[in-house]
């Protein structure tokens, strides 16, 4: 996987480069927005990590120019200034994800993994969570190697949980993933699906955070 890192702070850039290379990413690094645009023209990377505070131009500007030529390139923004407006501005300009400094390197790696997965159907679509394996391409779900039969809603629910394994998904996030706006959501419809999933997956894989939501055990 080829990553272009646009970051002007050398110690940070060196550290991130090192950490990504340890995970077998091919990393190129530039410190100026213009250099980034030039590099992308010549040798487009698979993923772009873009710092918003660059010395020569605003990261949002880089992103806007980039989107005219490379609309598909996945972009992860890094910024030290975090406000809701900036977040919205960044996403409006076409960023795929957003990470605030100071970030945890494992968080960065996790975001890159998600982008990679979205990126190429050619890459593995198989996600393994403990005894569970989930293949979104073939819609195959197996537990300890045995195939499971799930209803459509159960499958959709499990997909969200698997893709965000280790993170608590709020009830509203899960409901909006399961039902469109015009479909009425029964007050305990979510509980019913979770209950059914637990019957098939065993009681311990999905954890309830009372009043908040559900979480699938970490990978």
């Amino acid at each position: 996987m080829n990553v272009l890192l646009v970051e002007d702070d050398l110690p940070l850039a060196a550290g991130v480069t090192q950490a990504l290379r340890d995970k077998d990413y091919v990393v190129n690094q530039v410190g100026l927005g213009q250099h980034a645009l030039d590099t992308i023209k010549v040798d487009p990377p698979d993923i772009l990590i873009l710092d918003l505070g660059l010395p020569d131009m605003d990261g949002i500007e880089v992103l806007k120019k980039l989107r005219q030529t490379n609309p598909e390139l996945p972009v992860l923004l890094l910024t030290a200034r975090i406000s809701v407006e900036e977040k919205v501005q960044g996403l409006d300009a076409g960023a795929d994800d957003y990470l605030a400094k100071p970030f945890n390197i494992s968080e960065l790696l996790a975001r890159l993994r998600v982008m990679e997965r979205r990126l190429s159907p050619g890459h593995s679509t198989l996600i393994k969570v403990g005894p569970l394996s989930f293949d979104s391409l073939s819609c195959q779900v197996t537990l300890n190697g045995e195939s499971l039969v799930l209803s459509r809603r159960e499958y959709m629910l499990l997909k969200i949980l698997v893709e965000n394994a280790g993170r608590v998904m709020t009830r509203s996030r899960l409901e909006s993933g399961l039902y469109s706006w015009d479909e009425g959501v029964g007050s305990n419809a979510l509980e019913v699906h979770i209950h059914n999933l637990r019957k098939k997956l065993g009681p311990d894989l999905i954890k309830t955070v009372r009043g908040v939501g559900y979480r699938l055990a970490g990978p």
């Binding site: 702070d9 809701v84 400094k101």
Partner: protein, 445 residues
Amino acid sequence: MKSIRSFLIIAILATITLVWFIAALQGYQSGVSEAERLFDDQLEQVAQLTASLGGDPVSINSPPRIAYQLWNQGRLLLKTKNAPEAAMVELQPGFDYSNFGGYRWRTFVYPHGADEDIVIVAIRADQSFAMAEKVIVEALVPIVLSLPVAAILIWLIVRQGLKQLRELAVSLRDKQPQDLSPIVLSASPAELEQVVSSVNSMLTRLEESFLREKRFASDAAHELRTPISALMVQLYNLENELPERSEEVRNLRTSADRMNHLVEQMLALYRNTPEQLATNFTEVDLYSLAQDVIAMHYNWFEEKQQQIELTGRAMLVKGNRFALETLLSNLLSNACKYTPAGGAVLVDVFMLEKDRVQLLVEDSGPGILEDEQQRIFERFYRVGGDRHASRQPGCGLGLAIIRNIVDAHEAEISVENSRFKTGTAFRVIFTATTGGVTHEPRFLS
């Protein structure tokens, strides 16, 4: 408070009244002397006329306000009934005053003819004064009656003249604390122009320094966060490269984490002053926000095997979403930190009364002594200092940040004992917004 308007009205009215009465007095005096002159002319004419008639007895029956005597060589030849036997006045030719018959008289002695007749004519002086007074009173009455009319007119004029001043006062009074835009008056007279331009230049300077401070904080955030990120990433790499867990690296990690935490808290403290927060208020569902914040920080509780539970239902309050998120995560972080492993934390959002929403965060920690409950919102104050049983590192800014956010939302916060056997409860009470639950735009989580 003294009012310029009533001062002006009273002062102008007093001046006008004074000037009018001085003029009236002058008028009275000149009226009296004018009356005197008229009577003198009349006396002279009567004297000449009577003298030329030669003391015709028919003419002796004069009106009672005129008296007449004719003398010759010290003898009284003729007199009117109202004249005394003695000379009415010394026999010096000319005008004089004299008192007889119970009245004051104006007299005129007029020597006449070759036989040295002397005619004395007198006229009642009090009647001439009365006439002058009557003239002056007639002139004064309309002036006195017009005083109220003048007062009303002056009041209207002064009111109109001070209109811009009042407008300025109102626009200054109604200015929101965060509104630093210049004041604009519909028409500003020369006298007020100076005041308005001074106030406006002051507002501009204030806004500039405010923006400078804001930029500084934003730059500081960037300048501090980037090297801290570098430090964390390098530490991560170092930890991976070293074959074994080293004490030095662990200490480095602890220090880096503390520094990171302190910088974030200082930035949050700055960002969440009421002046900074006043903009960007929207309707926020406190319950779904609590869901998001708990989901975001669930690992805190998991690491300490603590039970976290949210109860309640959707409640809208007006606020800054980002600040409310900081408020909740600070309350949750405190609850987690000061509660031992295996403890419990409860979050509850509910309608207290018709228009008040309560956020309650309770823990099963050791609790806070009542006299310490008063002090905990001071900056850098930490319960029990670093010797607290939880041995938690911290900078003591968390509750100051919470206080700022609570103040900016005009909410109330109180600390009490939780419903657990021991433990602390933080109660924040917001004013609910009216209207139903609406869906605000959701940001990427």
